[in-house]
């Protein structure tokens, strides 16, 4: 066990949280944002669809999937930068699952 500076730990948390806020903001814009402005967006055509319909049926879902994978990759990178070892995490959490 070694102690980590509070500032380092805080920086880790801040980096992760900032990314999550960015992803959620994008997620909200492509779903709620598009619905809010559905009428004006329906004038634009994309790939044969009116844009509001395209975003609801495909665009939003594709964005969600991409965001989740970006999150997985970027979080791994942040973990690596702070010297987190995925294997060690597995061993630590293996002993933590409650079994009644």
């Amino acid at each position: 066990m070694k102690k980590i500076e509070k500032s380092v730990a805080d920086a880790y948390f801040r980096a992760r949280t900032t990314m999550i806020i960015i992803y959620l903001t994008i997620g909200v814009i492509v779903s709620y944002g598009v619905v809010l402005f559905a009428e004006p967006l329906s004038q634009i055509t994309f790939n044969g669809f009116p844009l509001h319909y395209y975003m609801g049926a495909q665009g939003a879902i594709l964005t969600f999937i991409i965001l989740l994978f970006i999150n997985a990759v970027v979080s791994d990178k942040i973990d690596k930068k702070y010297g987190i070892d995925a294997k060690r995490n597995e061993s630590i959490s293996a002993g933590k699952t409650y079994d009644h």
Partner: protein, 559 residues
């Protein structure tokens, strides 16, 4: 007994044999430790298992039909049910994994240091999973009813027997690999008809890129008929209803006990993030295809069925009319079946379309097998959630802490059987379309678990009284709004019963915050546990300091 019946039955029996075989094979190897077996599952396959658990009869049977009937307004279901994975994976799943408990009520009870909170959460789990399983049972009723050409109610009864048997069998062991197989069956069953229809109608085997032109042609058809166009937004409800429904489904997804439990079985926070990403990719395959399915079905119905003579309807109509879910009455007496005279239930669109489009008996049989896979895998997960809440969180932790393993299993088994039978009785006369019933389950989850988990993970000041009142108020507001809107005609901004979660969740969050601030702050230990969830497993928060476990990892040190 015709060829279709035999093919469908053979496919269903064959896939059932496959699931049971996989379950038995894994049981033999995994009796030593269920959790180790769970940890051995790579995130990709865990993602498939989450997909099968998640995609229920509502997704498989009901979704495309709902989009077809509601048009653009049905897309709230598509975005809501996928967007929930953002909330779940970004805000809850990794943290819940680090906290490491077995059920959702257990997390709530331990995090908030409150037995009352655990009991309320257990009761909420039962109510939510029960409502959800009513949707599953009425879904399997549709499939079985069509297969055996009996009324959907009789089909539901047969489904009750099947699901009670299947859950009691499959529920007792690690069913992850069975669910992987169920995912594969259901996604193949779903995609094949859409791809066939895309080739028939557009000559392009990629429905996702080609159905735009069908949507465009339908616009002209709608204009000729003088009905509201398919893609025009907010024809079925207000914009606020659309937004409220979408929120309800998202927050509900992040709060459904049987889905969250899947994230407890992964190895680490990192694996939870990857599982969430893979899960949505696999789920997305179906959700991206459902609107295409809807557009193709509607187009075929409008161009090939509507306009034919009432005495010369295709053979498939008769068998669906028998189930009571389709009506083709020549109301204006001109001997021609008009589009407006076809009344088709949301719930049969997916099952009927392969017949309507004449895709052959094999595809139709495959659809039946896929729908059964969807209903069974989800029902299995739901029944385990109900049984865990009853036998573990209520019976073992509160009523009889000295109960033997055997006694707890017995309580678990009986709770599965009773829950299935009662849900089946309710499903005999379903109080709404499948997607609608399921939406109520989501409204309840977003009014109870989502706020409790969100604040429990992200706000250390939230305490026992806060969560108790939060859940009570959230559930009451949600239930009250559902009843007021459904039976009393009371609505705010045109938001109907299915969007109730937005009020439930806001009320629960507000109540939790106000009551928490008005009462004593949680003990230091609890607050430290919550801060600890900010960091990966290797970092531990203690007494205001963060410690890193930098010991060299010895491979297989846990074995």
């Amino acid at each position: 007994m015709d060829a279709q019946f035999l093919v469908s039955l053979t496919l269903i029996v064959a896939t059932f044999g496959l699931y049971i075989g996989i379950a038995l094979y894994n049981k033999a190897k995994a009796t030593s430790d269920f959790y180790v077996a769970g940890r051995g599952v790579p995130p990709v396959f865990n993602g498939m298992a989450i997909g099968a658990d998640w995609m229920s009869a509502a997704s498989f049977i009901g979704l495309a039909g709902t989009v077809m009937i509601l048009g653009y307004d049905g897309l709230a279901y598509i975005m809501g049910w996928t967007g929930g994975y953002l909330l779940l994976t970004f805000l809850l799943a990794p943290q819940l994994r680090k906290y490491g408990r077995y059920t959702v009520p257990e997390f709530i009870g331990d995090r908030y240091r409150s037995n009352t909170a655990r009991l309320i959460a257990a009761v909420a789990t039962i109510i939510i999973s029960f409502t959800y399983s009513v949707g599953q049972l009425s879904g399997s009723g549709v499939v079985i009813g069509r297969l055996l050409e009996v009324n959907a109610a009789v089909g539901t009864l047969i489904g009750v027997v099947l699901i009670a048997f299947y859950s009691a069998l499959g529920g007792m062991k690690g069913i992850t690999w069975t669910q992987v197989a169920q995912y594969v069956v259901l996604i193949i069953a779903y995609l094949i008809p859409v791809i066939f229809m895309a080739m028939q109608l557009t000559g392009n085997p990629m429905p996702w890129v080609s159905y735009g032109q069908v949507v465009d042609e339908m616009r002209a058809l709608d204009q000729d008929l003088g009905i509201t166009e398919y893609i025009v937004p907010f024809t079925e409800g207000t914009k606020w209803q659309f937004l409220a429904l979408m929120f309800t489904l998202m927050a509900g997804t992040a709060g459904l006990p049987h889905v969250i439990v899947r994230f407890y079985t992964v190895s680490t926070m990192k694996a939870a993030r990857w599982s969430g990403a893979w899960a949505l990719l696999f789920i997305g395959l179906l959700y991206l295809s459902a609107p295409a399915y809807a557009a193709f079905s509607r187009f075929i119905l409008m161009t090939q069925v509507a306009g034919s003579s009432i005495n010369d309807l295709p053979a498939w109509t008769a068998s669906w009319v028998d189930t009571g879910l389709l009506s083709v009455a020549d109301t204006n007496g001109d001997n021609i079946l008009q589009w407006q005279e076809i009344v088709i239930s949301n719930d049969i669109v997916v099952m009927a379309t392969p017949e309507i489009a004449n895709l052959g008996i094999f595809v139709i049989g495959l659809m039946a097998a896929g729908a059964m896979a969807a209903a069974l895998s989800t029902a299995g997960g739901l029944m385990i959630a109900i049984s865990a809440a009853l036998s573990h969180d209520i019976y073992f932790r509160s009523i009889n802490p000295n109960a033997s393993e055997k006694k707890r299993l017995l309580v678990g088994r009986w709770s599965i059987v009773i829950a299935t039978v009662v849900a089946g009785l309710v499903a005999l006369n379903p109080p709404g379309a499948i997607t609608q019933i399921v939406a109520w389950a989501f409204a309840l989850a977003s009014g109870s678990f989502f706020p409790a988990l969100l604040l429990g993970v992200w706000w250390k000041r939230s305490n026992g009284p806060g969560v108790i009142w939060g859940m009570v108020v959230g559930l009451s507001v949600t239930l009250g709004y559902i009843f007021a809107a459904k039976f009393g005609g009371f609505t705010i901004l045109g938001i109907i019963d299915t969007g109730a979660g937005v009020f439930g969740a806001s009320a629960a969050i507000l109540t939790n915050i106000i009551v928490s601030l008005a009462t004593k702050e949680p003990v230091k230990e609890v607050q430290e546990e919550v801060i600890d969830l900010r960091y990966p497993e290797q970092m531990t928060y203690r007494d205001g300091e963060v410690w890193m476990d930098d010991t060299e990892d010895i491979p297989n040190s846990t074995k």
